[in-house]
Subunit: 85 residues, 2 copies
DNA sequence: TATATATTTAGACATTTGTCTAAATATCTA
DNA sequence: TAGATATTTAGACAAATGTCTAAATATATA
């Protein structure tokens, strides 16, 4: 849960998640959507990966990133428990 | 949403929320539960308040803190939308 | 009003975080 | 194998964050 909240505490990373909600993307394509260098985006992707929020698969030169929706469900549950009492 | 994720990105603050889920507490009582000074806890409470996650009400010398469950619902929805697509 | 209790505010400081540039690694193709 | 493209890793640095001590503010009560 710790790495999860950390990963979510950044607008760029939240934007990446919103983008991946729509479609899987390569690291380069993701970077092109932001006014930021590729190494910076790579760093953000690494934090999202650490939190298990995204999955990466290499296809040749490219690395595709996609959303891990299972974890999203888990967090949603964490919040819902606050209202169950 | 920004201040919300920021507020949640700290174990002490998440612990405070879990405690307030059970029962309303004064700032002093909350501080007593942690191995941390009162000013530090006061700072955490201020961040939770800024994020609208808690509500504070003064009763005489004491200030009582309680959970704002409405916001919890809102965040839960934010996560659930990721799986709706 | 003076003193005690509850809490916050102010300011300092070490740690963490986000960003950058330069260099390294991985893969593709001529 | 050499050169081009895609991506990550390493290291530096400014800004943000969490914690502390000391002081200020608010309320209660003798």
């Amino acid at each position: 849960m710790k790495s999860l909240f950390k990963a979510l505490n950044d607008q760029t990373r939240r934007d990446i998640l919103e983008m991946l909600k729509e479609i899987d993307m390569t690291a380069g394509d993701i970077a092109d959507k932001f006014d930021m260098t590729k190494p910076s985006i790579s760093h953000h992707l690494s934090i999202l990966k650490q939190a298990n929020l995204v999955i990466d698969i290499r296809k040749g030169q490219f690395i595709y990133y996609s959303l891990n929706t299972t974890v999203m469900d888990d967090i949603a549950k964490w919040f819902i428990q606050f209202n169950s009492k």
